[in-house]
C-alpha cells in the first residue's frame, strides 16, 4: 500500500465517532457569522442592523484577492455587526443574525436529486466557486477559486482528493463519504473540468475500509477517471506535500507550489461543497463538525450551520464534561486550543476535541538525549532538535541552513520526543523570523536588480 517516503508517526487513532451517522444540529435563536473565515484577507460585512436576510444571502464580500464571500446560514434579521473571538481568542468582526424561520434564497436547489450533468464551463465553475464562498474545508480555508487559478506556467495533470483524515479523533470526512459518495465524485469531476484535466485520485487511509469500498463502487459506476487510492496509515499523510508524494510519488519542490507536481489537491469536503455550489447553486453555509473526546457523552458528526455557537454544538454532544482540561478546534496533532467555548463554527472547523485534565497536561521536559527520533519522524527530512535549539538561541543563519522554512509544523517531532521537549514551540519562534529575512532578502535583490536595470536603460538612452 502506498504512503509518503520520509518520516511520519503513528498516533493512536481514537476515531470514537467513526461510522456514527450525520446528525443535523439544531439552529439556535441567534448566530454570529465571523467575517474572517478564510486564509488571507478577511471579508467585509455588507449588511447592517435591521436588514432581512435569507439562508444563502450574501452578507460579506471578499476583502482582497485572497478572500471569500460569506453568506447567511439562517433566515432572519441582522441584529448587529460586532466583534467576536475566534477559536484562538483573536477578535474578529462578525454579523449577528436573529433567527426567524428557515427561509432559503429561491436560487438554491434544495431537492435531493443528484445532478450528474455539469453544464458550466471552466471559467463559469471558477466564478461560481468564488460566488458561493467555497474555501478549503480541511482546515486551511484557502479560497478555492484562487487555488483553481494556478499561475500560467503550471501544467495541471490531475486532481488529488484529500480524504485521508489522518488527524486522530476526526471523522467528519469519513461520515461525509459514507453519506454522499456520488455527490463527491461529481464534485471531483467539476474540479477536473475547472483544471482542464481528466484524471483524479481520492486518497483514503486504510483505517476507513467501508469508505474505500463505497467510493470504489461509486467511482466504478460512471466515473472511470477517478481512482481510489488506499493509503497506509501514517501521520501526516493529509499534509498536501505528503499526500501528493504518497499518491503520485512526486515531491513538491522546496519553496514551490504544489501545482508544480501537476497535482491540484482539494479536501473531500471541498469537493462536496463544490458539487453543491455548482450543481445546486448552494453557498457554503453549513459543514460537518466532529465533536469528540474520551470524556464526551455522545461523540458524533454534526451537520452544523456556520455561526452556531461552539458551546451549543458541544451541548448537542452531551455538554462539556467535568474535568475538562483542553478544548481543541481541529485534531490533536495540529488543532488549536481554544481559550473558552465562546467562539462560533466557521468554514474551517472540522472538529471540536475535548480533552480531560490529565490528557491536556504536557509532561515535564528533560534534556535532549540526541536519540534522533525527531529526525526519523520528520516528514520533511529536517533535524527538529537542531531547529529547536537554533530557534531557542536565535541562531537564525544556522536555522536557515537547516531549512527551518521547510517545516510544515505537523508536530511529529514533538510527538515522538522521549524527553518531552517542546520542539515545535521553539521552531515556531524561529521559522517566521527566518521567513522574514528571506522575504526581505528577495525584496532587496529585486530592488537592486530594478535599480541596475533603470541605470542601464538611462545610460542607453544617453
Amino acid at each position: 500500500m502506498k504512503t509518503f517516503k520520509l518520516g511520519g508517526v503513528h498516533p493512536a487513532a481514537n476515531k470514537l465517532s467513526a461510522g456514527a451517522p450525520i446528525q443535523v444540529a439544531a439552529v439556535p435563536a441567534m448566530v454570529a457569522i465571523p467575517m474572517a473565515q478564510n486564509l488571507g484577507a478577511p471579508s467585509k460585512a455588507i449588511v447592517a442592523k435591521g436588514d432581512k436576510v435569507k439562508v444563502g444571502t450574501v452578507i460579506g464580500e471578499p476583502g482582497g484577492f485572497l478572500s471569500s464571500f460569506v453568506h447567511s446560514s439562517v433566515s432572519g434579521t441582522v441584529d448587529k455587526v460586532d466583534v467576536v473571538e475566534d477559536a484562538t481568542g483573536k477578535k474578529v468582526p462578525a454579523v449577528f443574525i436573529k433567527v426567524e424561520g428557515d427561509e432559503w434564497e429561491e436560487t438554491i436547489d434544495r431537492s435531493q436529486t443528484i445532478d450528474r450533468n455539469i453544464k458550466l464551463d471552466k471559467q463559469q465553475i471558477i466564478d461560481k466557486v468564488k460566488e458561493m464562498g467555497i474555501v478549503g474545508m480541511g482546515g486551511a480555508t484557502f479560497p478555492t477559486q484562487v487555488k483553481l487559478t494556478p499561475p500560467p506556467t503550471a501544467k495541471p495533470e490531475c486532481v488529488i482528493i484529500n480524504a485521508v483524515e489522518c488527524e486522530p479523533y476526526l471523522t467528519s470526512d469519513h461520515s461525509l463519504m459514507l453519506a454522499h459518495p456520488e455527490e463527491i465524485c461529481i464534485g471531483v469531476q467539476i474540479l477536473e473540468k475547472a483544471m482542464g484535466v481528466n484524471k483524479a485520485y481520492i486518497g483514503i487511509e486504510a483505517n476507513k475500509p467501508d469508505a474505500i469500498e463505497l467510493m470504489k463502487k461509486t467511482a466504478a459506476a460512471g466515473f472511470p477517471e477517478i481512482e481510489i487510492v488506499p493509503l497506509q496509515l501514517k501521520y501526516p499523510q493529509g499534509g498536501e506535500k505528503q499526500l501528493i508524494n504518497a499518491v503520485i510519488g512526486k515531491e513538491v519542490p522546496s519553496g514551490g507550489l504544489p501545482i508544480a507536481t501537476g497535482a491540484l489537491v482539494q479536501n473531500v469536503g471541498t469537493a462536496f461543497a463544490v458539487y453543491e455550489a455548482v450543481q445546486k447553486n448552494k453557498p457554503l453555509i453549513e459543514r460537518i463538525v466532529t465533536v469528540t473526546g474520551k470524556s464526551v457523552a455522545k461523540p458524533g458528526n454534526f451537520l452544523t450551520r456556520l455561526g452556531v455557537p461552539v458551546a451549543d454544538l458541544i451541548q448537542a454532544a452531551g455538554g462539556v464534561p467535568e474535568d475538562t482540561g483542553k478544548i481543541i478546534s481541529g485534531g490533536p496533532m495540529m488543532g488549536k486550543a481554544m481559550p473558552d467555548t465562546n467562539s462560533y463554527v466557521v468554514k474551517g472547523c472540522s472538529g471540536i476535541l475535548i480533552m480531560k485534565n490529565a490528557e491536556a497536561r504536557r509532561k515535564e521536559a528533560g534534556p535532549c538525549i540526541r536519540c534522533g527520533k525527531c529526525v526519523q519522524a520528520c516528514p520533511m527530512g529536517l533535524q527538529p532538535n537542531f531547529l529547536a535549539r537554533y530557534s531557542e538561541l536565535n541562531l537564525l543563519d544556522e536555522a536557515e541552513e537547516e531549512r527551518v522554512y521547510d517545516c510544515i509544523e505537523c508536530g511529529s517531532c514533538q510527538f515522538s520526543c522521549p524527553a518531552n521537549r517542546p520542539l515545535l514551540d521553539w521552531i515556531r519562534q524561529g521559522k517566521p523570523k527566518v521567513m522574514g529575512i528571506l522575504r526581505q532578502r528577495a525584496a532587496d535583490a529585486k530592488a537592486k536588480a530594478d535599480a541596475e536595470k533603470a541605470a542601464k536603460e538611462a545610460a542607453a538612452a544617453k
Partner: protein, 316 residues
C-alpha cells in the same frame, strides 16, 4: 481554566526512561549468558558496577551539581551494566569502583549530565581502567568463579599472533565465539546473545539498523582485506572480542552517536575500519573501544556536515 498550549496536543508516551529500559532488556540475554559462563564473578562485577554508577551519579547530582536526582532515567544503570560488560569477570571490586567513578564523573557529569557528554561514559571508564590497570584488565578468566579462576588467552590475541606470523596456533573456532564459550570481558563473549538483544531493540525501534549493520559490514570487508584475504579470519572479526557488544550496544549510545541515518552509516563504517586497523596493526589485540571513542569525537562534526535526506530538494 482551559489549557491553551500549542499543538501537538498528544504525545507518543515514549520517555527517556522507557528507552533505557528497552536497552536493559536488550542487554539481558548477554547478561544471563555471562552469569552462566563466568558464574559468581559476573554477578559480583555487574552488581558492583551498577551500584557504584548509581551511587556516583547520586552523589554528584546531589552535592556537586545540586540538581534534582536523575537516577530515574535509568541511564546510570545502563552505563553500569555496559561498564561491567567491558571488564574481565575477576576484576577486584575497588577497580570497578574507580571505573564507575570515571565513567559517571568524567565520562558524563563533567559535561553537565545525560545528553551533554561527548563520549560514551562506559567506554571512558573502560579505557581508563585499561590504561591504568593493564594487568588486571587483561587477565581473562576461562571458567566460572570469581577469585583464583584460571585465565587464558582470548581468541583475539591468538588471531593477532597468527596474523603476525606465529605458527602452530589453531585458528579460534567460529562457533565457540558465536556461542560465547571463550575467554573475554564478561558481556562480550556470546555474539549470539548480543545479536538477540540487538534484534529486539531494532524491532522495538529503540535503535535503527544503521549503526550496527554498517559497523559489522565494514569490519567484515576490511577484515578480509587486512587479514590476507582469509575468510575465516575475517568472519572471526565479527564474533570475537567486543565487536558485537560495541556495534550493537556501545556505538549506538544515543548521546554520542550521530542523529540522522546517513551520518550513522558514515560513523559505523569508520568504526568498523578503525577497529580492524587497530586490531591488525595496533599495540592492543582489541580496537573496538578506541574506535568508538575516536568516532564519538567526530560525531558533532558528522552532525554538522552530514544532512538527512530532504523532502522536495533535488540534487543538481
Amino acid at each position: 481554566m482551559l489549557n491553551v498550549s500549542l499543538s501537538p496536543h498528544v504525545h507518543s508516551g515514549n520517555s527517556t526512561q522507557k528507552c533505557m529500559l528497552q536497552v536493559l532488556i536488550g542487554l539481558t540475554p548477554a547478561l544471563l549468558w555471562s552469569f552462566y559462563q563466568f558464574g559468581l564473578g559476573a554477578v559480583i562485577i555487574t552488581l558492583a558496577s551498577v551500584a557504584f554508577c548509581l551511587l556516583f551519579e547520586f552523589l554528584i547530582t546531589r552535592f556537586m551539581l545540586k540538581a534534582p536526582s536523575s537516577l530515574g532515567d535509568l541511564s546510570a544503570v545502563v552505563t553500569g551494566v555496559l561498564l561491567a560488560f567491558n571488564v574481565p569477570s575477576n576484576l577486584p571490586i575497588w577497580i570497578i569502583a574507580i571505573g564507575a567513578l570515571v565513567a559517571i564523573g568524567v565520562g558524563k557529569m563533567v559535561y553537565g549530565g545525560l545528553g551533554s557528554n561527548i563520549f560514551n561514559p562506559a567506554l571512558v571508564g573502560r579505557v581508563f581502567l585499561l590504561v591504568a590497570y593493564p594487568v588486571q584488565m587483561t587477565s581473562w578468566p576461562t571458567q566460572a568463579g570469581y577469585a583464583d579462576v584460571e585465565t587464558g588467552a582470548t581468541p583475539l590475541s591468538i588471531i593477532k599472533r597468527i596474523a603476525n606470523g606465529e605458527t602452530g596456533l589453531d585458528v579460534p573456532a567460529f562457533m565457540d565465539s558465536l556461542l560465547g564459550v571463550t575467554g573475554g570481558s564478561l558481556g562480550e563473549v556470546s555474539a549470539i546473545a548480543l545479536l538477540l538483544g540487538g534484534i529486539y531493540m531494532i524491532v522495538r525501534k529503540t535503535i535503527t539498523w544503521h549503526i550496527p549493520v554498517s559497523i559489522l559490514l565494514s569490519a567484515l570487508v576490511f577484515g578480509f582485506l587486512f587479514y590476507g584475504f582469509d575468510v575465516q579470519l575475517a568472519l572471526d572479526q565479527l564474533v570475537c572480542g567486543g565487536m558485537m557488544l560495541g556495534a550493537i550496544f556501545m556505538a549506538t549510545d544515543y548521546v554520542s552517536s550521530p542523529m540522522n541515518s546517513r551520518g550513522q552509516l558514515l560513523y559505523g563504517c569508520c568504526i568498523g575500519f578503525l577497529t580492524i586497523v587497530i586490531r591488525r596493526y595496533g599495540a592492543y589485540p582489541e580496537g573496538m573501544s578506541f574506535a568508538i571513542l575516536i568516532m564519538n569525537a567526530f560525531t558533532p562534526l558528522i552532525n554538522k556536515y552530514v544532512k538527512p535526506q530532504r523532502f522536495g530538494v533535488v540534487k543538481k
